[in-house]
Symmetry: C2
Subunit: 610 residues, 2 copies
């Protein structure tokens, strides 16, 4: 299996534009906001492991993962630029973890305080999930600060897990109910060079759905945590979407770490199924709140979309890892779809509030009564009982440039576009661009690379390059000129996108995109009653500058269908011309509760004479 090296985010500095602005908010606001809410809710206090019966604020089984993801996110900020205050907050939390770690390496603030005799007995209790996030945090913190204590401590914990689960097999279950430790162990193997962690990860993968010890999730069944059959044999994404995203990511890690074509092929199948059958146009996945899960092909309802922020992010993890197997623009397209839409919608423009689930359509009128079984969140919150998404957003934005480049030999693969400079084994790579506000990207490569492969985004139907190119798997391969300079220009005209007719809710509708950015309408910009608005098939669009991260808002002329009087009346298709305004989807719900829709009805031309 041909492996490509991924350039990690800390080698790519975003120097301007969309992501620079977004990262500044992440650093200046989100890191502290998440910390504050986690403090208020006693998640940091729990690390003391001093809770006992009769006390308030009983630790929860997944609190360690919240704290760990926050540390990991801050570590990514520190890797980019040290910050004494944030580092001190991390050190304090880490000191608590180290101070309360058991002699044998075990650490879990819930089990140590609440159920010390029940370690590794409940498959569904997020114990190894928390361990995985602690390991990821420890790796990141070591890489960011050079401080090794946390990493050393988490290695001891990983060693314990290796012994219990792999050597002795003495735990009550074989594989964790919530995957995560698998990809963490591959990361730990990379950071430490210690192969046993990769072995353990592989064991967890091989054993899932393939052992007699694990019981199916009692509420949701075996598919819920992808245990219904061996992972290698799975063909369609199923079950809890975040669990799916994490385990598929680990499968891709396995495929590249062990050059394992079987896992690689399974990953290809699952990736194809997700992106061609089960993914919202925003990159959101897991369409139902029932088990926060994938459901089946083409089932992508709008009003009841679940599309958890963490699930979208987990799909970036999966797609990023696929790019290490081979460059195929479908992977990078998916990363881009999610990074500008379904992941970014998870955080407010001011960086303080978060969506756990992400709507494709909102009608506030429907919330007045309890008549619909599930409707989407209409407003972001500062923290949740299950608050996995806020720190996931923090770490995702801080490390977004992780997916910009891969390389092999003298070929550099350019997956994403942003004003940035990178250092790749001594070669300087810069991008000069205001992408995605504009489609022109000037790429400068110095040093060892002879060839550059530049992704042509799937949304782009027209582009031009300053040098000759050959298209392969969605990349324009160019021989780098002496100057090392290549300019590519993608046509960023707003375009209407349709969904496969099998997506029953969207037939006859279009979603408006500007480059990679999905747009939506909100009620306040469009006179409300969005369901009565129609674009026309031949609509023309104008863009207007906005202060929303530098990307434009889009205007169009469309029609509003006049209503009949009363509830039912003979059909009388009366339309009046109306102006329509579209804003980036990631910016919805930043101005109060409102109607919203990603999909807009379209009046097509047709031959009435037929």
């Amino acid at each position: 299996m041909a492996d490509y090296t991924a350039l990690s985010f800390d080698r790519v500095h975003i120097t301007g534009g969309f992501w620079k602005r977004r990262q500044e908010i992440n650093r200046a606001v989100t890191a502290q906001a998440v910390y504050d809410r986690f403090s208020d809710t006693h998640r940091f206090d729990a690390l003391s492991c001093r809770w006992h019966d009769g006390m308030e604020y009983k630790p929860h089984i997944f609190w360690d993962s919240d704290v760990a993801k926050w540390i990991e996110g801050v570590a990514y900020l520190l890797a980019e630029e040290r910050d004494e205050h944030l580092e001190a907050l991390c050190d304090e939390a880490i000191a608590q973890i180290l101070g309360n770690q058991a002699a044998d390496g075990y650490f879990n603030s819930y089990y140590l305080a609440v159920a010390p005799d029940e370690r590794f007995t409940e498959r569904e209790n997020h114990e190894l999930y928390c361990a995985g996030h602690l390991i990821e945090a420890a790796c990141a913190y070591f890489q960011a600060t050079g401080k090794g204590e946390f990493l050393a401590a988490m290695r001891r914990y990983a060693d314990l897990i290796y012994r219990i689960f792999y050597v002795e097999r003495s735990a009550a279950f074989a594989t964790p109910g919530h995957p995560e430790i698998e990809l963490a162990l591959f990361k730990l193997a990379d950071v430490t060079g210690e192969e046993k962690y990769a072995e353990l990860a592989k064991y967890f993968l091989d054993a899932r759905g393939n052992n007699e010890k694990d019981i199916a999730n009692p509420a949701w069944g075996a598919p819920y945590n992808q245990s219904h059959k061996p992972l290698k044999d799975q063909t369609a994404a199923a079950g809890h979407a975040v669990r799916a995203g994490y385990i598929y990511s680990a499968m891709a890690d396995e495929a590249s770490h062990f050059s394992d074509a079987e896992y690689g092929a399974a990953c290809e199948r699952l990736f194809e199924n997700i992106t061609e059958r089960q993914m919202y146009i925003t990159g959101g996945v897991g369409s139902t709140n029932i088990g926060e899960a994938f459901t089946g092909d083409w089932d992508l309802p709008n009003l009841t979309s679940y599309a958890e922020t963490c699930a979208a992010i987990s799909m970036v993890f999966f797609a990023r890892r696929m790019l290490k197997l081979r460059p195929d623009s479908r992977y990078a397209d998916t990363v881009e779809r999610i990074m500008y839409n379904g992941a970014l919608s998870g955080v407010s423009l001011d960086g303080k509030k978060f969506f756990y689930s992400n709507a494709m359509e909102i009608d506030p009128h429907l919330y007045a009564h309890g008549g619909r079984a599930y409707l989407q969140s209409t407003e972001r919150a500062e923290v949740f009982d299950c608050s996995c998404c806020p720190p996931n957003v923090l770490r995702f934005i801080a490390s977004v440039s992780d997916s910009f480049y891969t390389y092999r030999g003298d070929t550099l693969i350019v997956h994403q576009f942003a004003e940035s400079s990178a250092d790749i084994l001594g070669a300087a790579v810069t991008q000069e661009t205001s992408y995605p506000a504009d489609g022109e990207v000037k790429i400068r490569v110095s040093g060892k690379f002879r060839t550059a492969a530049i992704r042509v985004p799937g949304w782009c139907s027209s582009f031009a390059l300053s040098v000759p190119y050959m298209l392969k798997d969605g990349y324009a391969y160019v021989d780098l000129p002496e100057s090392g300079e290549v300019t590519v220009k993608f046509d960023m005209s707003p375009q209407m996108v349709e969904a496969n007719v099998n997506v029953r809710e969207n037939t006859g509708k279009a979603s408006l995109m500007y480059g990679p950015i999905v747009y939506c309408m909100e009620g306040k910009d469009n006179g409300g009653d969005l369901q009565s608005l129609f674009l026309t098939e031949d609509a023309s669009f104008t863009t207007e500058p906005s202060d929303v991260l530098g990307v434009p808002i889009i205007k169009a002329k469309g029609f509003r269908r006049r209503s009949c009087e009363g509830l039912y009346a003979p059909l009388s298709s009366q339309f009046e011309p109306v102006g329509m305004t579209f804003i980036p989807y990631f910016a919805y719900a930043n101005r109060g509760v409102d109607e919203m829709t990603v999909w807009t009805k379209v009046l097509p031309k047709y031959d009435h004479a037929d």
Copy 2:
């Protein structure tokens, strides 16, 4: 309050056509089929009141109502034509009831056997609901057969209820959780001439939402059983739809019985709210399974429609009673909307199987996984655990002509159309027609009537009468000619009907109607993927004879939208011409599980130059 007399069904003999065929199935099949399933499920056995702990088949709190409604339905058949076998089955059940009635008149097979010391302690236990249905059955059986024992026994029960609830007020609650006894008591007052039963009914109405004894429904709150405010003050239909229909019916009874303008006005408001805001085009009401309830204005989802058969029937009861207050075609239109659609869909064409809830749209693909919180039944069943609907359909069809005529003085009001003959105080009234297969109705009136008022259905935009007329409140008033003959011809051309744009699921769609009959598409007639089919605004329709109760099937030319490859692609509105076939909605789901939709997308004309 100007009162009109309603001609009861037993004075109107349906002599041919649609309803004759439907009634023959009801008599030949449905009566026995419901009996058999109720026998299988031990509902008749329970009348022995011999169940005790440790036995199988514990009686359920609402079983008496199932049996009572079956007896009532059979009584209506017997009133039309005696049938020894069915009468013997009734006599047997009635003997059980009489044999086990308590000395003080009480009868409830659940309480007598299971909880004898807990009479009248649980507001939500359907005790007075069962009593109401027993009283209705006893009235009907007396009227049909002249046998008075059952009626006498139920009078004793009503007398007991009068004492406990009205004189002593010694029950643990003031008004029943499930209304029904109120309208039964008005019926009992009519049949016996005993005013105290009307007084008790009025007390139950006045006290609802207006006393300190009743507690709100613990699961669903006070609106669930219309107890959130005094009934007189209610303005919008709320709560459990069957309860609503029954209590509003009783309010209308009160308004005519006591000439009470306050209740009359409340009924008008509620009727208007239901029919102009909360009713499916089929006449179904109660759009959500959550509490089987009304939700709010314009909330009429298709895939998750609940629209319980009993709720539709209860709205016929309500509308019928409104016609006793004054002739207004909105009431009779609603009766007609329900009788041809939302009530009739509740029973299979062969008369053996029943829908409890009635879909507006079915996509069988969505049932494969559990991703949608509530989806509609796809197939009728022979019996349900809560099997209120089958005997309700039985009694509804048997007594459908109850709503055909009202009269006052020398004016006869003709509300519904069917081949039939009626005897009204010695005046013979016949209708010669194949309505609804055809729109021509020849009405012949002999005897005392000078004036006839003939409803012009709300769905009808063009009609002709053989004599001069004056339109008022939706009725064509004519001076009857010497011959007593009036012919009316309603244009029955298929027409597309739109919903108010506030019904968000239906904007841009039409429902096809033929006269009063709502049509739908099923997958098997239309090549599946119904969501990709479009009618055109200027579609022309052809009718073809069918064997479905003599009404035609309808064909049209439309378009199928071609799908893009993959999940998302630039908009490309490609349509191919396609034939479309529509069948009567009441006939859906008689050929196996299939896709179905009541609403079809429409391609409108619009000016592309704008």
